[in-house]
């Protein structure tokens, strides 16, 4: 592996979703390279395929990669199971984290850490680490005895995703609309968690969002406009400001015309 391989490199990615009427193409040739140390924001209107991108990178069985490639530090992810992708260093903070009744947050975190690390973390230091991570996200230590995502508020669910991000510390993190449904305080707490993770300097972040709001707290290196299953425009921070001003309309029209 050479250093040029480093990164989450998406090349001409085509993805279909299974529907009752047969497979339906959603992603129509996505090119994107997230290098270590970079934060990329993907912005786009509803239905543009942003979440499909997130899920298909993580290996959700509903989505099929029909063309192109996704490589993580040179390792091809297409065809790998979700757990193999996680072990390769990929993490997806979900828009709708799933309830797992009867499984405590503590057990869940420890099981995940063990699965990813190959060995159970030492109990004493792990409990401290978990409590510290919960504290940083302003969740009290009792939180760890609750069932995963069961009865959590929207904000608690998202903060719990970021607790996992910090504790599992993957090489590349995809955040799928982590900002949606958060009030201003929770948004700041979550954004601080992402910034702490990114501040390590060698991690890559793909931040998928509908609104520019979270970009007040997280400074992206690159902004991509995502329309109709592909990237329609790329730029820096200023692109987000233009979107704030003008919306997605011009990109949607251009995509429809093509």
């Amino acid at each position: 592996m050479t250093t040029t391989d480093s990164g989450l490199v998406i090349t001409d990615l085509h993805v279909s979703v299974e529907t009752e009427a047969g497979p339906k193409p959603i992603l129509k040739g996505v090119d994107l390279a997230i290098r270590p140390g970079q934060i990329h924001a993907i912005m786009g209107p509803n239905g543009s395929g942003k979440s499909t991108l997130a899920y298909s990178l993580a290996g959700h069985p509903k989505y099929t990669i029909t063309g192109g490639s996704v490589a993580l530090d040179g390792l091809e992810l297409a065809g790998l199971s979700p757990d193999a992708r996680a072990k390769a260093g990929l993490f997806l903070a979900m828009q709708y984290p799933v309830e797992v009744p009867g499984v405590s947050v503590a057990n869940f975190l420890r099981t995940a850490k063990t699965a990813l690390g190959g060995a159970a973390p030492s109990l004493r230091s792990w409990v401290k680490e978990v409590d510290a991570a919960l504290g940083r996200l302003q969740l009290d230590s009792e939180f760890s005895s609750r069932s995963v995502n069961e009865g959590f508020s929207g904000g608690e669910k998202k903060r719990h995703e970021i607790v996992q991000l910090e504790l599992l510390n993957p090489k590349y993190a995809i955040l799928d609309e982590t900002d949606s449904g958060l009030d201003i305080d929770a948004l700041r707490i979550v954004a601080e968690g992402v910034n702490r993770y990114a501040a390590q300097g060698d991690r890559g972040v793909l931040l998928i969002t509908h609104y520019t709001r979270i970009l007040r707290y997280i400074e992206p290196d690159f902004v991509h406009v995502f329309v109709d299953g592909r990237i329609a425009e790329e730029g820096g921070r200023e692109l987000a400001d233009q979107l704030e001003e003008n919306g997605y309309e011009k990109y949607v029209k251009a995509a429809a015309a093509s």
Partner: protein
């Protein structure tokens, strides 16, 4: 801490009995539930057409129902001497449980000496009382009858641990005195050849609390009829069940809650997992709300997780409501496979498919076990469930359904 004293004091027993209506109490026959009888011959050998037998594979139980049983099961307690006994007709034996099927009638008629556990009025046992019911001869049909009598205001947790290779007809009758709190855990941990038929029946006194937890893991066939009625107003019953049916196993739980007094509550929650060819579970939950049962609240639920092809889970909830003046009455039953979204979430955190499935099943049971409220019983149960999951994984990885 109060130790359990197995030596009966008759005076106290008589006191407890005052809270119990005698066997002469007339029972209205509900269409959900036959009137019982101690007479074995009044319960005909089932043909399979009877509503109460239609789910049971009769070829596997016939030998237990046809001929007179050969002996009685051994019941021992940790650090207890021989338990006191009650002869047929000696109260309180027979005051709570009247056999509602042939299996229970045989168990009653052929157990000359029923084991008697008396918790005197006001006594609170700090530690669970553990009784071992063990049979060794896989061919012999044995019977057992246990009478648990909890005096007013007493508290106890009683764990019945069934092990061995039995063909067992076993009855348990429980009298919960006024304001007493009784938990009975019945753990069916038999060898894989065992057949266990039985009736558990409780009557809950005024503001008494009764909890029954049936845990059915090992055995070829288990069929338990679990009944509750009330001896006064404001009684509470929680009937929980956990079962794991492996290939070829038949696990049947039949419940009947008879709301015959006002302001009582009942909560039934049974959860099972099934895996392997011809793994079979049956859950029949009947609740009767009599005209006098004003202000009661009842809910019953059965959930089944089907882990592989070739399994079958039947769930039949029934509510018979004879008064509308109640707090609530509901039921639900579900049988399903793994939730793909749950598995994806866990797998995206690095758990392989088997580990993700295992965590989901464990959580499904843990949620219920956590409600038992006796931590060492909870831990022991989760350890059993872990063992069951280990075995299931070894015999056949928890593969895609």
């Amino acid at each position: 801490m109060t130790a359990f004293d197995p030596v009966l004091r008759k005076r106290e027993a008589a006191e407890v009995n005052a809270a119990n209506p005698g066997p002469a109490e007339a029972r209205t026959v509900s269409h959900l539930h036959p009137a019982g009888s101690f007479d074995v011959d009044s319960h005909l050998l089932p043909s399979g057409r009877e509503e109460v037998w239609r789910f049971t594979p009769l070829d596997r139980v016939e030998a237990l129902l046809k001929d007179p049983p050969a002996g009685v099961i051994e019941i021992t307690g940790d650090g207890l001497g021989p338990l006191p006994t009650l002869a047929i007709g000696q109260t309180p034996r027979g005051t709570v449980l009247t056999p509602t099927d042939r299996a229970a009638a045989l168990a009653s008629a052929h157990t000359a000496a029923a084991a008697h556990v008396l918790i005197p009025a006001g006594q609170r046992l700090e530690e669970p009382l553990r009784l071992s019911l063990r049979a060794a001869d896989p061919e012999a049909v044995v019977t057992g009858h246990l009478v648990i009598e909890a005096g007013p205001g007493s508290q106890a947790v009683i764990v019945l641990h069934h092990t061995g290779a039995a063909r067992y007809l076993g009855n348990v009758e429980v009298s919960v005195g006024d304001e007493a709190r009784v938990t009975v855990v019945s753990l069916q941990d038999w060898d894989h050849t065992a057949v266990h038929l039985g009736q558990h029946e409780a009557r809950v006194g005024r503001r008494g609390e009764y909890r029954h937890i049936a845990v059915s893991l090992g055995g070829d066939l288990i069929r338990l009829q679990n009944n509750v009625s009330y001896a006064g107003s404001g009684g509470a019953a929680q009937l929980f069940g956990v079962y794991f049916a492996d290939a070829g196993q038949h696990i049947e739980h039949r419940l009947f809650v008879d709301h015959n007094h006002p302001k009582g509550t009942s909560l039934v929650d049974y959860r099972g997992a099934l895996q392997g060819q011809h793994a079979r579970s049956v859950w029949v939950g009947d609740v009767l709300i009599r005209p006098e049962a004003k202000g009661i609240d009842t809910y019953e639920s059965n959930k089944n997780l089907v882990l592989s092809e070739g399994c079958r889970a039947d769930a039949v909830p029934n509510l018979e409501i004879e008064t509308g003046e109640i707090q609530g009455a509901g039921h639900s039953a579900s049988t399903g496979r793994f939730d793909e979204e749950q598995l994806f979430y866990l797998r995206s955190r690095g758990l392989d498919e088997a580990a993700a499935r295992r965590l989901v099943v464990r959580g499904f049971f843990a949620q219920l076990v956590a409600r038992i409220g006796v931590s060492d019983v909870e831990e022991a149960l989760m350890a059993k469930i872990d063992r069951e999951l280990d075995q299931a994984e070894r015999s056949r990885p928890l593969k895609g359904a």
